[in-house]
Amino acid sequence: MRPDREVAIVAFAQSDHRRRTDDLSEVEMVMPVLHEVLRQTGLKTSDIGFTCSGSSDYLAGRAFSFTMALDGVGAWPPISESHVETDGAWALYEAWVKLLTGEADTALVYSYGKSSPGSVRDVLTRQLDPYYLAPLWPDSVALAALQAQALLDSGTTDEPALAAIAARSREDAAENPHAQLRGARPQGGYVVRPLRTGDCPPIGDGAAAVILAAGDRARELCARPAWIRGMDHRIEAHSLGVRDLTDSPSTRLAAERAGAFDAPVDTAELHAPFTSQEVVLRRALDLDDSVRVNPSGGVLAANPVMAAGLIRLGEAAARIHRGDSDRALAHATSGPCLQQNLVAVLEGENRA
C-alpha cells in the first residue's frame, strides 16, 4: 500500500564509531551528528516539526540518559518530542507516521548507544522473556550461535560462506570512514561455536541522525531526496523454540507490506549483527547477487547498538542522495535471532 503523503529522508549523519568513548557523555557524542544534519539541510532546531529518538538506558547504565541527550537538541522551550526504547529505526518509523498524518512537515530522528561502559552481551539478556529465558542469562552471541548451528544443520550455509560474508563486510568498510572495523581481519577462534570472532559484530559506541521531510519541503532541503515508498515492521513469536530459526517470516511480511517485491532493488542495507543472519535475511528478502548488500560494511563493521538499525536507513538514503542507488531496501532488527524486523523501501527520482 503506497502511503498518501510523500515523505523522504533528506539528511543523514553518523559519528565515527569507536570501541570506547570514555571522554564523551551521551549528549556530547550525539550533538555533532545533530548539528551535521541541521547543517546539511540549513534547518534550525526551531524549524523541526517533530523529534524522535531511540536508545536504551541499560546499555550505559544511566537512568534517563535520553532526557540528558535531549539537551543537545535544544528542547527548551518544549518541543514536540518522543522516544522509543529500541533502535532508532523504530523512532524513524514513528516520525514517518507523524509526517503521514500531516501533523508535521519535518522531523529529526536520532539514536545513540554507548556499549562500552557495560558488558553488552549480558545487558541484552535483560530484554529476554523474564520467566523462561532471562534467569539463564543466555547472551546475545549464544542465541545467535544456536541460530547459526540450525542454518549449518539445514545445509543452507557453511563456515567458509560465513567467513566470506565477514571478509566482504570489512573490506567494504575500508571505504567507510565512520566504520570501526575497516579492512579484512582473521576470523579468529570460536566465541560461541559455530560463531567465530569474525562472525560477530564489534562492540562500540556511536550515534546517528536523519531528517525527514514531506513533499516539496523535501525537494527544497535535498537535491535528491530518498523517498520512503513503504515501511513496515513485524515480529516473530517470542519463544525461540517455537520459531524456525533458519527463516525470517516477519522480515518477508514486512518487506511485502513495504512494497519491496514490487520492483527490484539495486542496494540493500541489512541489519545483520552476525554473518549467519545475513544468510537468513537474503533468503527472506529474495536478494540475488545483482543486489549490492551492505556497501557500508554493515553492522559487522560498526555496531553502535540502538543506532545500528537507523544507520542502515541512513546509509541506504545517502546512497540515493549521492546518486549511487535508485531503489534501495533498508532493514533493521531488534531482539534475539532477528526477533523483530523493519523494512523500508527508498527511491530516488530520476535525474533530469
Binding site: M31, G61, D71, P117, G241
Partner: protein, 319 residues
C-alpha cells in the same frame, strides 16, 4: 615519593542491581510449579500442537490456551552452540552447550544448558534428559541442565489438571549489571574543579547562560557549552523544602533542609543541604556558602554566610 597523577578521564564502578519480581498467570504458574515437582507441562493449541514451555496465548492465532498436558523429561537436541567460557548467572560454571531441546511429546523446544565433556560430544539429534536441581523453588532454574541420555523417543503426552499443592504465583529474578561509569568531558571538568574547591560552570556561547553543574550542552540552544566560568563560592537560597523522612543509608538527622541555591554568577540553581542553622529559620534569599567534605572533594552542605538576605529581585529569574 611522587604522587600518582590523576587519570585523564574520571571513571568509577557502577553496579545496577535489582530483583525483577513478576507474577505468573495460570499457565506459567502450573509449568513452574510442575518443575518444582519434577513434572514438565506443556499446553495444547487448537491445532493440537504441544507447546513446551507453555504460553497463555497461541503464538499463531492469539487464542487463549489452557489445555495442559504432561510431557517427558527426555528429549532431542534441535540445535546447539558450544559455550567455552560460561558467564555470570549462566546454568553451568564449566564449558557447556546451549541447547534447544524438544522434549518427548512436545512439538516445540525449550532453551537450556547441556552438560557435556566437549563440543565433539554434542550434535543436533542427540538424546538428552533433564538433570533436576537439588533445591527447587518453581523456576526455570529448577532444571539444573540437560545431560546426554540414550533412550528411544516417545511421543506420548497425557492430560494434566495443572493443580499442585502450594503452587507458585510469582518469580523473583535477580539482575545485576556491572558498568564502568565515566561522566564525559563537561562533568569531568566540573568534578576536577570541585576537587580544588572551585565550582566551575560553563557558559553557552549563544545565550550566555552559565550552567552549574554543566552537562555539556545548552538545552535551550542545543549547542555545546564552552567557556568555563568560576561561580560562587557564596550563593542565595532560591527555594527549599524541609525533609522529615530519613533516606535509606543517609546518616543525617531529620528534619533538615534541602534547598535550591543560586551560586553567585550561575544561570541556574543547583541543589544542596543547608546546615549550621535551625531548619525552621531557613528562608528564601538566605545567603550561604559551601562547607567542603572532609576529603575536600565536594560541598557536603551549605551554611549561612551571615550577610544580609538577598533581594527577591536578584534571584527571581532563577527560581
Amino acid at each position: 615519593m611522587k604522587a600518582t597523577p590523576p587519570p585523564e578521564i574520571l571513571q568509577a564502578p557502577l553496579v545496577v542491581e535489582f530483583p525483577f519480581t513478576r507474577s505468573l498467570g495460570p499457565v506459567q504458574s502450573a509449568f513452574l510449579t510442575g518443575l518444582r515437582e519434577r513434572t514438565v507441562l506443556g499446553v495444547r493449541t487448537e491445532t493440537g500442537e504441544i507447546l513446551v514451555p507453555p504460553v497463555e496465548y497461541d503464538p499463531a492465532t492469539a487464542a487463549e490456551l489452557r489445555d495442559l498436558v504432561e510431557v517427558g523429561v527426555t528429549g532431542t537436541v534441535t540445535t546447539w552452540a558450544w559455550n567455552p567460557e560460561p558467564r555470570r548467572g549462566q546454568p553451568l560454571a564449566t564449558p557447556f552447550a546451549w541447547v534447544l531441546v524438544r522434549l518427548d511429546g512436545a512439538d516445540t523446544a525449550v532453551l537450556h544448558a547441556l552438560d557435556a565433556p566437549g563440543p565433539e560430544a554434542v550434535r543436533t539429534g542427540l538424546r538428552v534428559r533433564i538433570r533436576w536441581a537439588a533445591e527447587r523453588s518453581g523456576a526455570i532454574t529448577d532444571i539444573a541442565c540437560f545431560e546426554p541420555y540414550d533412550s528411544d523417543p516417545v511421543v506420548e503426552h497425557r492430560p494434566h489438571d495443572g493443580l499442585f499443592a502450594d503452587s507458585v504465583t510469582g518469580i523473583v529474578a535477580p539482575a545485576r549489571l556491572d558498568y564502568t561509569y565515566s561522566p564525559g568531558a563537561a562533568q569531568t571538568r566540573y568534578l576536577r574543579g570541585l576537587a580544588e574547591r572551585r565550582t566551575v560552570g560553563e557558559r553557552c556561547p549563544s545565550c550566555t547562560k552559565v550552567y552549574v553543574p554543566p552537562r555539556g550542552a545548552c538545552p535551550t540552544c542545543g549547542i555545546a557549552t564552552t567557556d568555563r566560568v568560576e561561580v560562587g563560592p557564596a550563593g542565595t537560597v532560591t527555594t527549599f523544602c524541609i525533609v522529615n523522612i530519613k533516606a535509606k543509608n543517609a546518616d543525617i538527622d531529620v528534619p533538615y533542609v534541602y534547598a535550591h541555591i543560586a551560586l553567585d554568577g550561575a544561570g541556574l540553581a543547583l541543589h544542596g543541604r543547608i546546615g549550621g542553622i535551625p531548619y525552621d529559620q531557613v528562608r528564601m534569599g538566605l545567603r550561604v556558602e559551601p562547607v567542603w567534605s572532609e576529603d575536600g572533594r565536594y560541598p557536603d552542605h551549605y551554611r549561612p554566610t551571615g550577610e544580609p538576605d538577598a533581594d527577591y529581585d536578584t534571584y527571581k529569574e532563577l527560581l
